[in-house]
Symmetry: C2
Subunit: 248 residues, 2 copies
Amino acid sequence: MTLAQSSSDFMACADCNIRNRAVCATCEPHELSRLEDIKYYRTFDAGQSIMFEGDEMHFVASVVSGAATLSRTLPDGRIQMVGLLLPSDFIGRPGRDAVAYDVVAIQKVTLCCFRRKPFENMIKDTPHIGQRLLAMTLDELEVAREWMMLLGRKTAREKITCLLSLIGRRTASLHMQKLQDGLSFEMPMSREAMANYLGLTIETVSRQMTALRKDGIIELGGTRTITIPDLAGLMAETGDDTDGMMLT
Amino acid sequence: MTLAQSSSDFMACADCNIRNRAVCATCEPHELSRLEDIKYYRTFDAGQSIMFEGDEMHFVASVVSGAATLSRTLPDGRIQMVGLLLPSDFIGRPGRDAVAYDVVAIQKVTLCCFRRKPFENMIKDTPHIGQRLLAMTLDELEVAREWMMLLGRKTAREKITCLLSLIGRRTASLHMQKLQDGLSFEMPMSREAMANYLGLTIETVSRQMTALRKDGIIELGGTRTITIPDLAGLMAETGDDTDGMMLT
DNA sequence: CGCAATATTGAGCGCGATCAAGTATGGTGG
DNA sequence: CCACCATACTTGATCGCGCTCAATATTGCG
């Protein structure tokens, strides 16, 4: 029944790299083994759709590796991304039959999937999972609201610098780099994806990237390789209060 | 210790008008009586601040009546509202010491407050509350994401018609009006509040309201009394898929 | 190498912001 | 009851950021 879609057929939860950040983070060993019974892995290539808005939701999942986006589309074709899914993030909404957003892989993605019904039952009788999911959902809500500020009130330059600073710092923390000396990373998304995430057009994204390069705020090696010589300088352009954020 | 701030000192939960929609909706009688022990009412006048961003959060609360807003402010003063709190909505984030947004009453508001620590303990040992809070938070997340689409991709006219349609339909459902023949309601917020909610300026809001009036989409009697002769006509201007939304 | 997809650059325009008056509206005290 | 003032809202003139349309350049891939 459970069709293996991937080469990595099985991995023990104990060995999982998102073990202590995902929805299963606070599970006891016996809870974990129940999850282990209903989980299965799937992978999707960059560009592949994972779920379509309006479809029936057969499974929920944790992102194990790679990246995906949540987006909505207006009848006339305008697109707005409403979420970025990175390792340990949760996909799907318990208690809802239909998918509310398009979910698309922007890098090769591995998911740890749970069939929806068994997972919903586990929420009911496993408080740890429900509590963890609540905390994660509250975090997502805060991220969404910070993004509302960006979309509603920030200029194009501020939007771009916010995104670069976000991705840059996240990548650095993943690789334990220190932030002081030049930070280098790969952008996980195309110019079009950036535009849809920031509420801009491709052309404006491109122009602002060029402007930031000319101003010495960033350096580009290929379109997706970005170097930030002075992170504080970049963050001074975001419009945010920069105090205390350098600690992360 | 618990200082009564209001004339309505006490109300039995059983008689509460948000009893079956708020965070307490799925509570059993014994759980409800525990909540009843730690609850107290407070009222705030229109314009009064309820919480300030960064302050310590002493209590969480349900909105019983009236309306309040959540907003964030950039260092240079730009404001973006990130949430609208109406009766049955929940204020505060369990497990977090500091308030993440400014909370301001935009109408006279009555809150059903719970001191934070006792409430957090109840979440741990009362699954019904945690589950209800999870469902409500997921709903809020969906609303926030729909608002991201509005802020990032919609025109000023679409933004205004979305807001009017939202408030109008909600008011109608509260008063059990049928939607077909002219719908009339009071706008609960100023032009400035509308602007901050929609990511626009006051002037643009005002101009779009005038334009909609001249186009016969809305009628104005005083600045806050709004009549919508043809709701379908208004909704055709929102940019959304209008199918199926008229049922609500 | 050749093609397709992606990104950059340019010219011009228009939507919504800004700056600036002007007009209700509502509360207060004489 | 009305004159007064503060606040909220509307309207007008102009500006400029980001969009549109269009051409060119670059990248990635068979």
